[in-house]
Amino acid sequence: MSPKTLYDKIWDAHVVQEAEDGTCLLYIDRHLVHEVTSPQAFEGLRLSGRKVRAPDRTIAVPDHNVPTTADRLEHVENEESRVQLDTLDKNAAEFGIHYYPVSDIRQGIVHIVGPEQGWTLPGMTVVCGDSHTATHGAFGSLAHGIGTSEVEHVLATQTLIQQKSKNMKVEITGKLRPGVTAKDITLSVVGATGAAGGTGYVIEYCGEAIRDLSMEGRMTVCNMAIEGGARAGLIAPDEKTFEYVMGRPHAPKGAQWETALAWWKTLFSDDDAHFDKVLTLKGEDIAPVVTWGTSPEDVLPITGVVPAASDFEGGKVAAVQRALDYMGLKAGTPLSEVPVDTVFIGSCTNGRIEDLRAAAAILKGKKIKDGIRAMVVPGSGLVRAQAEEEGLADIFKDAGFEWRLAGCSMCLAMNPDQLAPGERCAATSNRNFEGRQGRDGRTHLMSPEMAAAAAITGRLTDVREMI
């Protein structure tokens, strides 16, 4: 048998049918659903008189629109948001799918809830009408975002019509230096490949620095595979994965656990497996990084300076000039001198317990700079409860942060948490696009540790000065 990559193995285990031209019907094990990209899909089912084929494999949770303030159960001010949230409530009940409503402590960002509840398991196919579905690849599952028509297709058939992607290996060798995190790895990879470098590929992340990461860190890495254009990112499961999964509400138990574990242990790329593209970075070369522009590929170490448009070639020259104008930055300015007025810690990229612990470790006993608006938005109600139990919430509140309820919040500003025009944010989220956090708002992406450091100093800051 010819050697296979991890992606090949998961793919092969899910092919229902393959046409002569290579188009495959792929079986979907888990379908995650949120309120923004699903209403039209459920409406489509209703119009055609179809049912959800596998309601037991379909899990819905509201996250994008939900306010993160304490009064959200009584009051969602924006009428359209309210309608969208009500529509998910109704659809979940009508079609009989698993559902975590806003009132449930397990509610949170769909990509945090899935793994937390044990819905995401190694070797699965996982889809969601959301590009950051790649997060679940951290478990060695094939997970990717789909559009609303495909959401309807999965609801109706539990399959997707797919062409197989190519295999790409991203290896991070050696050890990370102090102050360097999973976020710095994933941003550095996007910086190296470019925002389209992964288009047409599924990335497998491997190497010592990846193996050394916790499951939370691996989720951060895979989460941003899409920012490099890849269909999905994944990491071979290992003892850390199995330990994280064991005992979760929807993880297998007893004899089934043993059967599952035996298969999961075969989920790795064979020694001679073929990769169509390989990128290798040395862990010790990765620095704490920030983005300076309006594409996630616009990444530099915090010790760098704002580049000039003339430093680039081709179509990127005009894009960089536009980005610098939008960001209000002058070429040559040291990044550590760029002031911020807002700090956002949260999102499906960095809203897990380990992220909050890391930020709290920097903030402990300190105050944020006067005039800074800073908020922490835990990724789920359970993350929030755990952070409160561990005393992290008090550290954030004492430092001057707002302590919010779970949701997507300021990552995409579909809810009341937004930047005003011209405001500049140190954000732990995943996209720095124009208008992403609010019209004319300016976003710098970074790790939770770096965001905490920026809150203290009021400017982009090298966290290594504080550890």
């Binding site: 398991l121 959301d130 975002g145 559009g147 609303t148 058939t157 399959t159 890849a230 579909m414 208008g435």
Partner: protein
């Protein structure tokens, strides 16, 4: 889904690279529970100022391009989120074809689901079409999906590749779900077999 067979229309040049889905349709317009009506907000924050007035030099506001049906775009068009609202907005505005050196994966698939044809061409050929598009309203280009050819007003003909299955779906206006439901028996069989080999799923 409407069929896509041939199209002759004005092509608008958008040479900027990495035009993302937040640019195509900003998040505040994703709160709808419908597919229709999004064309009014296509490229909203580039097309309109804070007070809702048109930005005069934005390409789709220029008289020559107000009725554009094709966009010739910079690399990595449609990167970012999975929102199908992006192709819905393009289609509602009247755009039925986008040409670029590359598209983001999810956006690319979403186009085919909505009768929009995304065409990938090498840079030299996109450059030719970009120059053509920059000529304004006189530069109408024609797209023939059956023949897999684009022709310009001066008679230049450029061939393109497209996935055979997706091509047929566009030509015939086929619905993916109908096609897949014809294979329901295979899905049943797969579920039965997977239920044995991976019972924990």
């Amino acid at each position: 889904m409407d069929k896509f067979q041939t199209l002759t229309g004005v092509a608008a040049p958008m040479p900027l690279v990495n035009i993302d889905t937040d640019m195509i349709i900003p998040k505040q317009f994703l709160k709808t529970v419908k597919r229709s009506g999004l064309g009014a907000n296509l490229f909203d924050e580039m097309r309109f100022d804070k007070d809702g007035n048109e930005v005069a030099d934005f390409v789709l506001n220029q008289p020559a391009y107000r009725n554009a049906e094709v966009i010739v775009a910079g690399d990595n068009f449609g990167c970012g989120s999975s929102r199908e609202h992006a192709p819905w907005a393009l289609l509602d505005f009247g755009i039925k074809c986008v040409v670029s050196t590359g598209f983001a994966d999810i956006f690319f698939n979403n186009c085919f689901q909505n009768g929009i044809l995304p065409i990938v061409l090498p840079k030299e050929q996109v450059d030719v079409l970009m120059k053509e598009a920059e000529k304004g309203e006189n530069a109408r280009i024609s797209v023939n999906l059956e023949k897999q050819e684009i022709s310009t007003s001066d008679g230049t003909v450029i061939g393109f590749e497209v996935d055979p299955f997706k091509r047929q779906c566009l030509l015939d206006g086929l619905d993916d779900i109908d096609l897949t439901l014809e294979k329901a028996k295979s899905i049943d069989d797969f579920e039965a077999q997977a239920g044995q080999s991976r019972p924990w799923v």
